[in-house]
Amino acid sequence: MAERINSQQRPTSSPLGMKRNKVSLHPERSRRVRLQMQGVSKRFGATIALEDVGIKVAAGEVLALVGENGAGKSTLMKVCSGAIKPDAGRMWLDGAPYRPGNPLEARRAGVAMIYQELSLTPHMSVQENIMLGMEPSKLGVILWKQVRQRAIEAIKEFDNPELTPDARVSRLSVGSQQLVEIARALAIGCNVLVLDEPTSSLTQQDVKRLFEIIGRLKKQGKAIVYISHFIEEVKRVADRVTVLRDGRVVGSNDVAAISTDEIVSLMVGRQVEELYPRSARQAGEVVLEIEDLAGPDKPKSASLTLRRGEVLGIAGLVGAGRTELLRCLFGLEPVRKGRIKLGVYTGPASPVKRWMQGAGLLSENRKEEGLALSLSVADNVTLSRLKGFGPLGLVLPGRQDKATRRWLEKLDIRCRGPRQSVSSLSGGNQQKVAMARLLQHDVDVLLLDEPTRRIDVAAKALAYKLINALATGGEAVPALRPAGILPAERNKGKMPSPHRQPKAVLMVSSYLPELMGVCDRVAVMCRGRLGPTHRIDEVNEHELMLEATGK
């Protein structure tokens, strides 16, 4: 069996190809294969999501599945969990042919999956979400005691005070919601567990707990597939790694035998250049100034100044109030007190005004507020500014598409074209579409909330390059229109301007290395209070972390 799968893989010059023989020598590997997929292919219309993919996971093994956005990782595992029917391919579970017709059959067969996009029923309680679809019942009447007991057992592993069986899921923080999904997979018991980017909104503590749980499941002989864009995570938790690119397996090897760089270059198919490019930036005039800003609950007090040509990072813990700060600035939350000055405009303003004043927000919550999922890529990119796509205020689809195509190319958004609906894009590509909107609108102040969450290494590198280019006014993003000048004429006047103005970026992120990499200055938010800003060459990660935890 092993030979057959291996022979399908493209020959590669990386160490992945060479170490393969070791597999059988490894004591753990000699265990029986729990899950095997072979020759799996899937097309969505013209998109080839998977082509002749095979993977194999043994009992007690963690297989990491990595690849760029849109490589087909989620699609492959959805085939395994019965959510998608493959066009071709076969699967075996513990040696027996396995062909789930729907997710229920897969769950019954012992395959549990944690999906990339949160899949919870927000109106229902934690315990109901955990047991949904598998409620113990007698004659159709649910045995609530058992439901509760099993839910409690599943959530006690996390020891998170927010997670109580009766809590309504819509009131939980995103991180806790993610835990509910994980608990769901644990509660029903499974032999094969698939985790699709489970850590993208977890705190470090929760990640640690999750890894402990994975370790325990491994000992129990479960087979685990782990999808992540964090190579460090993969190196820490996985035994073996399989790399997908454009719907094909391009290599697979023991984690110990391959370096991070090798994994990355396999994913991308080329060497990734410098991750954090940094051109000389010139801080210009102040474009955003806030003073002692407070929202309804958080932030409690925030002051900062942001200049043109500058990237200011906001670090902090999940739940510290960073998102709320951006939302206050953008008029999505009421301002309780404090002063905001954006360019020449003072005071709070509605989002409509903010767009007109030259500020744009990239929401951390792409699915619920960042994008209109059922609309096309072009509609999403041009949504905030539908001017200039035709005479008399008409919006001509052709011109919309033309404007959009530029960004598809510039940001390397993988899709069939401007008219594809955003809902059918992979997670990372959706994020790029959301980013393209800000660029299309040509805002001067970019408020970015977790801009690289859930996007792959190559896309991250691209995002950093882009942010750098924006801040330096560089070539990477040539202007469609003359660069905005903050005062009101920017929307009416077609003042030709020979130079591209650098932009100002305010960026919230939980991923410290990227803040250290792209920002000029960082401020840390802790319990709703924004600390002083530090120049990036004057702090290190450790100090920032201490500040974030309030020590």
Partner: protein
Amino acid sequence: MKKKKSGKQPFDSAQGEERYVPFMPSGDEAPIPNSQFFSNWRRWLNTLSPIIALFVVFELFVLIAPSSFATARNMEMIARQTTIVGVAALGMTLVIISGGIDLSVGSIVALSTVVIAWLLRYAGVGPLTAAIGGVAAAALFGLLSGVLITRLRVVPFIVTLGMMLVVRGAAKGIGREQKIDVDPERLRWLEELLASVPKERNWMLLPPGVWIMIFLAIAMAALLRYTRLGRHTFAIGSNEQTARLCGVAVERVKMLVYTLCGAFAGLAGVMQFSRLTVGDPTVAVGLELNVIAAVVIGGGSLSGGEGSILGTLVGALIMTIIASGCTQRGYPNWVQEIITGAIIVIAVALDRLRHRRTA
């Protein structure tokens, strides 16, 4: 509801010694504001708020309407008048919780009366068989809606809009575009379902039809709370995709939900027939809107996932109270309509407000 009071910060331990930090640790999860008392209090307020609203509306009319308003007689009448909408609304609650809607309810009520009359008159069956026949025919059309919605993947609004016309047409066809009269001899208890309680049976307090509604309401509330079908209905309305991924048999649940809704509409038809004592294919035009209004006033959300039987019944009662109060006060019909319309909007707005505050 046991919640650990967070004396110490939950995530404060163990950072620093770890080298690998993909995400920052959390030391600042939102504090838990609710003490047990507070959260219980809030929960009670949430359950009781429809009843409070009902009380307020009722008291309002007691104040402004003539003194006859608060009498037992009048209350009985209000209960009786609520029954038709109330019974139909039980099924509609289920449909709305599942995120759907059923516009064919009014037509199904009419069809049910016609079928019952037809059976009594031409098939020579007893009242019980006739009533069952009426409900069965109604359930069948409900099932048909369900099948169309799940198989053709057409949205419920469109399917049931079509069914509204189809069923109305069918009712008219059966009745040859006329009412079907029934020999009063054959009606027996069917006639008394909603008649006011005679003196010698005062112990009944309420007419049998009202009792039927109450028992069914309790049964439905239990179904929603305690059975898989009920919880899966909520799950589908809350997030259909998730429900499917979790192995909920979405199609089957939906079909059941629409069948049940049809059956309840059929039963409402039995009540309607009991009032009219003839099968009338043109009765209950637009009734579905009252039914939907009752559910919505009672806290049902048209986007699914929310709604309760208690709320629905209260919603139905509020509408009857307004109607009856206005009549007794001698307000013309148009005033009544404006008030009802306003109440619908206000009720839903209040509900939103409450949600925002507790969210």
